[in-house]
């Protein structure tokens, strides 16, 4: 597709994100809300939709949803009610999903994403509502049946819907990144797309640039990473451009992202026009949330990533790049700050975190809190390097040992004998020896060939198995031969 065609069209994207809230229990019953149990081990008459049972709203689920909505600059609606969304699918035991239709928890919010020349763009959040998750279906290949696990049924889900404000796949990606980051800071969801605790559907249409009317949109599903969302949108954007260029019309439909083929594929199912026949859920009373409660939740919202970024830049004088990396994970940001409080060398700490620490995290696919490295240990290593007790190499070694054993930095340095020998008494005898063994080189140095000092330092290092402080060695050699 040439650039002229690409510029002829404008892309319009809206995103719907489903977020599993990490409450202890399900949204309408006391079953555990955990991932990974054996099938149908956390179900009860309420979440199985047995006749005669009544759902009761989990207070924490509502509080978490309000917290997220407030962090996304939404207004909490004064009157909140639940509705039934009716459809049949075996993963939905009741034949309806308890959701929210016309009185959602919150609306009129926004989230900022980076725009050109350091500015930000506001993406409007149309609404945010609570609903229950469905069960999990396993399509048993080669048989005539499907298997259902209802453990997930009733997991609290928050749906966050944007206006069609996004104009490119990159903006969609940035929105998801910022949304995830903000939500992780609130600690209301794991936001793990691979585990399904964050899911994203995308609506996309294109129109001729400048046209005020929206084009026909398609809905994209089945993306299981942010990269997949971006790739699916890019594919679909080109597909729609090609279709319009060759005089075809876009069909409003749901398309599934096929990761293997790198393409979106029409579902082509006999998809009935969605007719969910929403009506108020008679089993749940409405909710009117007190301003005082909203205020309390608002005050519980921690410093959010965008604010933290600004503060890290001014308080620790971090560069744009460094500050950005430090706030990408609330745990990393807290780790950084804990280190900086123990040892006020933010740039050095930042380098250690960006380098060895994040490398380890990525390699182990772990979280900071799972690591054996603590701010105390890391700052000990950095301080001892600054004090010349550890060479750079020994510091890296100490770091690795702490990570592997969980022993304290001091213990590791002691046990592995990583500390440099700086004791000039000991080092002087080593220097003495080295000069004696290398009379010829020593003579050259005496005659002014200073570059040969390095050779003797190397010899001395070898004699001490690398434990000597090379700086002090150099000084001693110079003093002996050049003074």
């Amino acid at each position: 597709m040439n650039q002229v065609v690409q510029q002829k069209y404008e892309t319009v994207i809206g995103l719907e994100v489903h977020l599993q809230l990490k409450t202890e229990t399900k949204i309408f019953c006391g079953c555990a809300n955990v991932f990974g149990r054996e099938p149908n081990a956390q179900v009860c008459p309420v979440c199985l939709g047995l006749p005669g049972t009544l759902p009761v709203l989990n207070k924490k689920a509502l509080a978490y949803a309000m917290k997220a909505a407030l962090a996304l600059n939404c207004q909490i609606n004064s009157f909140i009610k639940f509705d039934r969304k009716n459809y049949y699918y075996p993963d939905l035991p009741k034949g309806y999903q308890i959701s929210q239709y016309d009185n959602p928890i919150a609306s009129h919010g926004y989230l900022e994403i980076p725009a050109e020349d350091g500015r930000v763009k506001r993406i409007t959040i149309k609404r945010a509502h609570l609903e229950e998750d469905a069960g999990k279906l396993i399509h048993d290949e080669g048989t005539n049946s499907s298997l259902v696990d209802y453990n997930r049924t009733g997991t609290p889900l928050m749906e966050i819907v944007t206006e069609p404000d996004l104009r490119s796949s990159q903006e969609a990606y940035d929105y998801l990144q910022n949304l995830k980051l903000t939500l992780q800071y609130l600690n209301v969801s794991d936001c793990d797309m691979e585990k399904g605790s964050l899911r994203c559907d995308a609506n996309i249409s294109i129109r001729e640039t400048g046209d005020p009317c929206l084009g026909t949109k398609t809905e994209l599903k089945n993306m299981n990473s942010f990269k997949a969302v971006k790739a699916a949108l890019e594919f679909e954007e080109r597909r729609q451009q090609k279709a319009l260029e060759s005089g075809e019309r876009i069909v409003q439909e749901t398309r599934l992202w096929d990761e293997g083929r790198g393409a979106t594929v029409s579902m082509r199912s006999k998809e009935e026009a969605h007719d969910y026949r929403y009506f108020p859920e008679p089993d749940l009373v409405p909710f009117v949330v007190d301003e005082g409660v909203i205020d309390t939740i608002r005050r519980s919202i921690p410093e959010l990533p965008q604010q933290k970024y600004k503060r890290f830049r001014s308080e620790y004088k971090l560069s744009d790049y460094d500050a950005n990396i430090m706030v990408q994970d609330a745990d990393v940001a807290n780790f950084f700050e804990a280190c900086a409080r123990l040892y006020p060398q933010p740039k050095k700490i930042c380098n250690w975190i960006q380098g060895p620490l994040l490398q380890e995290l990525n390699a182990r696919k772990a979280h900071v809190r799972d690591l054996r490295m603590t701010p105390e240990y890391l700052t000990t290593i950095i301080r001892k390097t600054d004090e010349n007790v550890l060479s750079n190499l020994a510091a890296k070694e100490a770091f690795q040992h702490v990570m592997e054993t969980g022993k304290s930095a001091d213990e590791v340095i002691e046990q592995k004998g990583l500390a440099q020998v700086s004791d000039s008494g000991i080092l002087e005898s080593v220097v003495e020896e080295v000069i004696r063994d290398n009379e010829k080189v020593a003579g050259q140095i005496r005659e002014g060939k200073e570059s040969a000092v390095g050779f003797l330092v190397g010899q001395a290092m070898r004699k001490t198995q690398g434990k000597a402080n090379p700086k002090i060695l150099g000084e001693l050699i110079r003093r002996r031969l050049l003074a």
Binding site: E24, V56, N58, F287
Partner: protein, 102 residues
């Protein structure tokens, strides 16, 4: 005050559509009878249209209750065996259902 039975409110097509949404299959005579029944019910309810509701907030719930919650505290679930007792078919701890085409 009885309204003259004028235009049909419900057609057989409507009933067929509603039945399909509810996964109910109806024989022709049931279709005709249910269409008549629904028509009668809706005519009866139509009386409400005579009431002036311009100044009344839409009512979603009739009970004078609001804000009924439960705390986020775990309660025992069913045992798997008990849960699966209601399954028509089961397989290795799963409910087994006719194949769903996705």
């Amino acid at each position: 005050m009885i309204k003259t039975k004028g235009s049909k409110i419900v057609t057989q097509d409507d009933v067929r559509y509603i039945a399909s949404l509810s996964r109910i299959s109806l024989r022709d005579e049931e279709m005709a009878r249910l269409t008549r029944n629904l028509e009668d019910i809706l005519h009866y309810v139509r009386k409400l249209e005579e009431v002036d509701v311009r100044h009344i907030e839409p009512t979603s719930h009739v009970l004078p209750l609001k804000n009924v919650y439960r705390e986020d505290r775990m309660r025992p679930s069913l045992t798997r065996e008990d849960a699966l007792q209601i399954a028509v078919q089961q397989h290795e701890g799963f409910f087994k259902v006719p194949k769903v085409i996705q």
